[in-house]
Structures are given as structure tokens and as C-alpha cells.
């Protein structure tokens, strides 16, 4: 019977062939490490956030007179409301953690390089959507940090040329962050996840067209691929198990470690808390904002600091195939960059003193320098590597790739996948 149903459907809709092509049989490099689990994990957290978010919205009130209390209502009265909320608030942090690891992996292994530029750029778009969603969601509990975070960030739009003040008032729908702001943030916070889902579909279509990268950083053509199922379904689910253990530790044992205590005080537009800090996942960018003495300059620097990742495919000039694994200088650069981000995060967290301001400014310069010097360093590294001679194993890998590229060049139609 089920067979007949599937047959009936297949006659009208490419169900079996789609599942076979894109899911079970999707050709995957066999050497993927656990770092390749994080795309799947991000998809999982997205679903978790949508599910918990929709159920929270059934009890939440987007009204400045009611919203703070409606959170208390969710925490105390709604059945398992505390669990839904803690999953959602912890989920936000988990989402960023997973995405940052996903990005770090891409940077380390050079997975953003040709032909995966569009994959990288759709990912960049997803990062922006995620940041906007998280920022708007943070206003909804209407605590002190919510209010002042939204005030500071909407104020940044004052940097808009000529229309700064009008743009800020337009965004808020009021002269200050108020009821109009809260309602629109709620509406958009509900909308954006669905835009994210749409963008994820585009991201996946791009992925399935260029296929996954792999730890060698070299395109291994088709010879080293194995079907996604059961090998990587098993690997992904195992990784999911580990992730869920860590996630549960936070949800059940330390849910408040990720919530600023000041956010348990209802928003008060007449009184700023002593020390405003954003959520941990925005700290490095916030530190860059604060490090530039000029306000407009700070806003521009902060925007650039997020967007510069998109330029990596152009900045990395090395033609040596492979990522950090076969490129010692690039590898050192990568770890230095991570260190700079950690320092910036710390600077963004502590109250500003003369010393931290200087540290922040140096780290900001290093942050931008890491991008700026990539073209020169990668070129020099390429020359040095070629002179030194690559290890035999790498040369073998490269040769298998150049052959592929040459074939693709000879036969342009092959590139489009029209000729097998």
C-alpha cells in the first residue's frame, strides 16, 4: 500500500528522486570532520527557536504596560512556560555559538574560496538576519537592558547622513523607544525567522550545487564522495546528541547565566543602568564601536567589521589550494584573528577605563589589519610554499583538482552539469 501511494505521488511530484538526490544519496566528501556538523546544528537551533518562539507568543503581550509582567506570567503560571522561555533565551546564544563555529571553520579551511563564494555570501546575509532578529527579540522582555540596548542601537542610525534624526524617530515610531517600538519589534521578530528559513533554502541550494567543502580545502572532485545517508545522518545526529547535552546543562542548571541581571528590572526611560552591556555575541562589535572616538566613524567601523567577511574570497589571493591545514602562515593568522576577537569581546564587556580603551583601539586596528593584510600575506605565502615544495600528499590532491578544473575549462557545458 505505501509503495503504491509513493508511486502515485512520484508520478506527479519528484518525491523519491528528490530525496535520493538531495538527502539520502547526496554525495558528501568522506573526510569531513565534526566541524562540518555545525550547519546541521544551526538548522536544528533555528527550528527550536521557531517552535519555542511560536508557543511563547501565545502567552506574550507586546505592550509596554504588560510585556514585562507577561514574561513573569510565562515563567510562573504557564505550564512549562519557564522551560519554553529558557530554551528560547539559551537558544539565541546557542544559535550564535553554532554559527560562529560554522564561520570559523569556513575561514580556517578556506571553504569560502571558489566556487563557494555565493554560499559564503548567502551565509553572510543569514548572519545579518540573525543579528537583526536577536536584537529585536531582546527588546521584548522590556527590562532595563532591553530598553537601553534598543535605545543605544537605534541611536546609531543618527549617523545616517542628513536625515539622522528623522530616521531614528521613524525606526522607533516615537521620540524614544516606546510602545510603538515594542509592537513593531515583536511583529518583525516574528517575521524574520521565516525570512531566515527562506535564506537557508537558498544557502542549501547553493551548497547542493557546489557540494560540501572538506578539511583538505581542496576540491576532491567526485572520487572521494560517499552518500549522505547513512554516514552523515549518523554523524550529524551523534553531534546533535553532544550539542543537546551542553544545551541542556545551560537550560536546566544555569539558564540565568546568559541573562543580564539588570533585565529583571522593568524598563525605566528616566534612568540608565550603571553599565550597559550587549549580549556576549555582540561584544566584539560593540567594542569596535566604542573604540572609535568619533561616533559616525564608530558606526561605520562596526558595520564594516561585520561585513568584511564577505570580502574574504577577494582578499585571499593565494592560489595554493587548501585551507589552514596546508598553509602555515594563514593558520597563524587565523588563530591571531580569533585571539583579537576574544580580546575585543573582553574590552566590550568591562566598563571603559583609559587602559581598556587603548587595548580596544589596538585590537580594533589588528582586527581590520587582519583583513587588510590577507592579500599581501597570502601572496607571499604562496610564493614561499611553492619554493619550498608542497608535501607529496598535497601535490597529489592538487593534481586531481587541476585536472578537474582543466576538464571543466575545456568543456564549458560540463560546468553547468549538463554533460556528465
Amino acid at each position: 500500500m505505501p509503495n503504491r501511494i509513493i508511486k502515485w505521488i512520484d508520478h506527479r511530484f519528484p518525491l523519491t528522486s528528490f530525496v535520493k538526490h538531495e538527502l539520502t544519496g547526496y554525495p558528501t566528501p568522506r573526510n569531513l570532520s565534526y566541524l562540518w556538523n555545525f550547519g546541521f546544528l544551526a538548522g536544528f537551533v533555528l527550528m527550536l527557536q521557531v517552535a519555542t518562539g511560536i508557543f511563547l507568543a501565545m502567552h506574550y503581550k507586546a505592550d509596554i504596560a504588560l510585556s514585562f509582567d507577561s514574561i513573569q506570567h510565562i515563567m510562573r503560571n504557564v505550564n512549562y512556560g519557564w522551560l519554553l522561555r529558557y530554551m528560547h533565551s539559551t537558544g539565541a546564544s546557542a544559535f550564535f555559538l553554532v554559527i560562529y563555529i560554522h564561520m570559523a571553520r569556513t575561514l580556517y579551511y578556506g571553504s569560502f574560496r571558489a566556487p563557494r563564494e555565493l554560499l559564503w555570501w548567502t551565509g553572510q546575509g543569514l548572519l545579518l538576519l540573525l543579528m537583526a532578529t536577536a536584537f529585536m527579540g531582546y527588546l521584548l522582555p522590556w527590562g532595563q537592558m532591553s530598553f537601553w540596548g534598543a535605545t543605544v542601537i537605534t541611536n546609531l542610525f543618527q549617523a545616517t547622513p542628513f536625515y539622522g534624526d528623522q530616521v531614528v524617530i521613524w525606526l522607533r515610531g516615537d521620540y524614544t523607544v516606546g510602545d510603538a517600538t515594542l509592537s513593531r519589534f515583536f511583529a518583525l521578530h516574528y517575521l524574520f525567522p521565516f525570512l531566515i528559513i527562506g535564506a537557508v533554502v537558498i544557502h542549501l541550494v547553493a551548497l547542493h550545487s557546489v557540494k560540501s567543502s572538506n578539511p583538505s580545502g581542496i576540491d576532491l572532485a567526485a572520487k572521494d564522495n560517499i552518500p549522505f545517508h547513512p554516514y552523515f545522518t549518523a554523524k550529524d545526529f551523534y553531534g546533535l546528541g553532544i550539542f543537546l547535552i551542553v544545551f541542556s546543562v545551560f537550560v536546566f542548571f544555569m539558564p540565568n547565566s546568559l541573562i543580564e541581571p539588570a533585565n529583571n528590572i522593568p524598563a525605566n526611560p528616566m534612568q540608565t543602568p550603571k553599565h550597559i552591556v550587549p549580549e556576549w555575541y555582540f561584544l566584539p562589535f560593540y567594542a569596535i564601536l566604542r573604540s572609535v572616538p568619533n561616533m559616525v566613524g564608530g558606526v561605520v567601523a562596526m558595520g564594516l567589521s561585520v561585513m568584511l567577511f564577505a570580502f574574504m574570497p577577494f582578499l585571499d589571493r593565494s592560489r595554493t589550494p587548501g585551507g589552514g591545514r596546508y598553509r602555515p602562515v594563514y593558520r597563524i593568522q587565523f588563530y591571531l584573528f580569533l585571539l583579537v576577537i576574544l580580546v575585543l569581546g573582553w574590552v566590550g564587556y568591562v566598563p571603559p577605563t583609559d587602559l581598556t580603551i587603548i587595548i580596544g583601539q589596538v585590537a580594533t586596528l589588528l582586527y581590520f589589519g587582519s583583513f587588510f593584510f590577507v592579500p599581501f600575506i597570502s601572496k607571499a605565502e604562496e610564493r614561499w610554499l611553492m619554493k619550498r615544495g608542497l608535501p607529496a600528499e598535497v601535490t597529489a590532491l592538487i593534481e586531481s583538482e587541476t585536472l578537474e578544473i582543466a576538464k571543466r575549462k575545456l568543456n564549458p557545458r560540463r560546468r553547468k552539469g549538463e554533460v556528465a
Binding site: I169, D174, A180, I276, M295
Partner: protein
């Protein structure tokens, strides 16, 4: 209509261009209400004025009132404070004190730090912003950054000896 007009390519191109322009204008016009709906609504605009009774603010004392949802500092300045403010031109954004007050006894400024919008605290002479350490004097002028500008003076006018309305000059 003659036969030659039927396959007149110029005519068709012109019509396509014209329809696209009219259609584009229609789309743009349709966006206006959506964008405008996000601007402050009329009830928000209506609370744009606030009346303040000054009679119970002692000399040297300060009151904070809400205007358009923003805090406004009203400082009843003592003769010493007036003299100190008049003696300097401020710091980073120089401006004479006389330009910032209608009646030197009363300083009215919006209590929103011009850096990133925190509310400065009254501390010693003037105000200090705890967010990033900006300092303002008793005329609301910035004397230490990162704030770039002086505290804003809202439009206001005295309706009686000890009553003023904020929102209209």
C-alpha cells in the same frame, strides 16, 4: 489602424517603457502609506508638549520631567552656578551660557547624552554619563567626551513666572 502600425517596433517599445514607468510610479506610491505608518502616530505627536510647575524646585535643586518620553532636566541655578557657567564657553562644543537659557536662573536641557543616548546623572557641578564617561557642566555643555555635543535645549517658553511649557518655543 493601418497594417504598418501593427508591427511598428518603436511604438511597442514606447508603450512598454510608458507602462513600466507608470507601473513603477504606482509601486512607489503604494509604498508611501506603509513607510509613513511607521512614523509617530497622532497620539504620540499629541503628547509633544509638557507643562512644568517650577514653584517647588529650590535653588540648586533639579527636577526631571518626561517630555516626549525623554527625561528633561530642569535645574534651578544658584547665583554661583550662574556665574560659573557664564564665566566659560564650555569645552568640546563651545557656546555661551546666555544662548542656552531664557532666564539664567533656570536651565532646561534634554537629559539624553549626545553620545549614545544614556541618561547622565547629576554629580558635583554638572552631570556625568556613566555609560562612557562623558561630562557636562551646569549649563549642560560637554566638557569631556566621548559625547560630541552639548545637551540639547528643548523648545520651551514661560507661561507664568513659575510655570513653563516644553515643546514649543
Amino acid at each position: 489602424m493601418g497594417e504598418e502600425t501593427l508591427d511598428d517596433g518603436n511604438r511597442r517599445n514606447f508603450l512598454i517603457k510608458l507602462t513600466s514607468v507608470v507601473g513603477g510610479a504606482g509601486v512607489a506610491a503604494t509604498c508611501v502609506p506603509f513607510v509613513a505608518s511607521m512614523n509617530p502616530s497622532s497620539d504620540v505627536l499629541a503628547k509633544a508638549e509638557t507643562e512644568v510647575d517650577l514653584s517647588n524646585i529650590p535653588p540648586g535643586g533639579m527636577h526631571t520631567v518626561a517630555w516626549q518620553g525623554k527625561p528633561v532636566f530642569i535645574l534651578h541655578r544658584t547665583p554661583e552656578q550662574i556665574a560659573a557657567s557664564a564665566a566659560s564657553n564650555g569645552g568640546l562644543d563651545p557656546q555661551p551660557d546666555g544662548k542656552r537659557v531664557k532666564n539664567p536662573e533656570w536651565l532646561v536641557v534634554v537629559g539624553v547624552c549626545t553620545h549614545m543616548g544614556c541618561v547622565p546623572n547629576k554629580e558635583g557641578p554638572g552631570w556625568e554619563c556613566h555609560c562612557h564617561g562623558s561630562q557636562y557642566d551646569d549649563s549642560g555643555r560637554v566638557i569631556r567626551g566621548p559625547a560630541p555635543k552639548n545637551l540639547e535645549v528643548p523648545p520651551y517658553h514661560f507661561v507664568a513666572e513659575n510655570k513653563l511649557v516644553i515643546g514649543k518655543a
